[in-house]
């Protein structure tokens, strides 16, 4: 019997779901924190937020951030060391992104098991960059005195808040597209839980 090669290796699956928990808690509590002093003409409805009140929201936010940061560091270290980033995200050319975007918009971009198309590569790299931006701008909001150099880098306390909000918005948009695509191609979901199995060398896809 041939060795079973999963679509998503176990460490990746664990990190994916830990990250999902951290992100949901951070966004929900972050909305509650934003509501305490909104800088745009709207607030998030209470039912969408986590923490009940500002004190609870900050407590959840500053607890979940440790999960996000530790898990994120493991992910970056693992992705680089294992060659996952190099194999899955590279090469990435503007031409390929344009080609695959055009195909995707005409619903002619097939899902290839175990291979990311150029749009996926761009979005995954983009959301990793947004995650790093969210952590750095969040640190600048948290410690504008002790981490004054980081606060200055973003242009001060208020602009750090705005950057943090924009990073969150980008991540929310990513999640919306990500979840929509899973809804359109539901067979990708079990693979992120059980690992799934890569197609046999003869090209037949073996369903897990």
């Amino acid at each position: 019997m041939a060795k079973r090669v999963p679509i998503h290796p176990l460490p990746l699956r664990i990190m994916h779901w830990l990250n999902a928990i951290a992100i949901v808690v951070l966004i929900g509590s972050g909305w509650e924190i934003y509501d305490a002093s909104p800088f745009l003409p709207f607030t998030f409805p209470q039912w969408m937020t986590i923490g009940q009140w500002l004190g609870g929201a900050i407590a959840w936010h500053l607890a979940a951030i440790w999960l996000l940061m530790l898990n994120g560091l493991f992910y970056l270290g693992w992705g680089i060391a294992s060659g996952h980033f190099r194999r899955k995200f590279l090469p990435l050319s503007p031409r390929a992104v344009l080609r695959d975007t055009a195909a995707a918009l005409r619903f002619r971009l097939p899902h290839e098991v175990g291979v990311y198309n150029a749009v996926q590569r761009l979005l995954y790299l983009g959301v990793i960059a947004l995650g790093i931006l969210a952590v750095l701008s969040g640190l600048a909001v948290w410690k504008p005195v002790q981490l004054w150099w980081l606060s200055d880098l973003f242009g001060g306390f208020f602009i750090s808040r705005v950057v943090h909000f924009c990073a969150m918005t980008g991540i929310v948009l990513f999640i919306a597209v990500h979840v929509l695509l899973v809804a359109l191609v539901p067979r990708v979901l079990p693979a992120m839980i059980t690992g799934g199995r890569l197609p046999e060398p003869d090209g037949r896809e073996v369903r897990p």
Binding site: I21, V24, V25, G28, I33, Y34, A36, S37, F39, I50, G51, Q52, W53, L54, G55, G56, I58, A59, W60, L62, A63, W66, K143, P144, V145, Q146, L147, W148, F157, F158, R161
Partner: protein, 240 residues
């Protein structure tokens, strides 16, 4: 014990997503003395964040200062009550009581404090809610005062009690920071009632709620004193 005021029904739904937090007992969220699993978890993480912030605190790092033109006018009032409810303290009969690990516990009159060397600062007050204001405060550096009354500078906490029942506490390292002052003046004139007359703590290395107003007692202690908001769930260290 800190409590985070979590609603059971709402949390239960979220606990499904959180998985590990699913075993919520029948404890009452409304009673801080009976924290449930989520409360205990958040409390432990908040304590951990206190330690991280204490390690991150550099006594030589100064809070940014601003130009007089950048001062927020009119100043913004904030308290857990309306501005009309601000305590009216008679400066003539007011005394600052001293408690705990302090050598000379004789109470202080306002005139004695005004005779001390002052430090003036134009600094930014950042509220835990996210807004910020720039103001000018001047007063007695707390480290001068603590040395003057022969306080135990190796003790862990400085606690503050106020005329309106508010109370808070800070770590000794932050208390000894050069920009931490017992403020007497605000915007070039003696403090007014809404802004903490006759004496308030001004500590620009911490969030706004760690700047108690209308102080009536100051203590030095090794026993965790908590605070009005801190006991309800705000992070205790709350450094900037």
């Amino acid at each position: 014990m800190k409590s985070f005021g979590l609603d059971r029904r709402k949390l239960l739904g979220r606990a499904l997503a959180l998985g590990a937090l699913g075993s919520l007992s029948g404890c009452d969220f409304d009673h801080p003395n009976h924290p449930d699993l989520a409360d205990r978890f958040l409390r432990a993480m908040s304590d951990w964040n206190d330690e991280v912030q204490a390690a991150l605190f550099d006594p030589r790092t100064l809070a940014p200062t601003f130009k007089p033109s950048q001062i927020t006018r009119p100043p913004r009032f904030n308290a857990f009550y309306d501005i009309s409810q601000a305590p009216q303290v008679d400066a003539a009969t007011w005394r600052l009581a001293l408690t705990g690990r302090i050598g000379d516990k004789r109470p202080w009159r306002i005139g004695q404090l005004r005779a001390m060397p002052r430090e003036s600062q134009i600094t930014r007050l950042i509220c835990v809610e996210g807004w910020r204001v720039v103001g000018q405060w001047s007063g007695v550096p707390l480290h001068h005062f603590l040395r003057k009354v022969n306080a135990d500078l190796r003790a862990r906490y400085v606690s503050i009690h106020c005329a309106d029942g508010y109370f808070s506490s800070i770590d000794m390292a932050s208390a000894l920071h050069p920009q931490t002052i017992l403020a007497l003046d605000f915007l070039g004139a003696p403090l007014t009632a809404p802004f903490g007359a006759p004496l308030r703590l001004r500590i620009p290395t911490k969030l706004g709620f760690k700047n108690p107003k209308s102080i009536v007692a100051l203590g030095v202690t090794n026993t965790y004193p908590g605070g009005y908001w801190e006991n309800q769930g705000y992070n205790w260290f709350s450094g900037s």
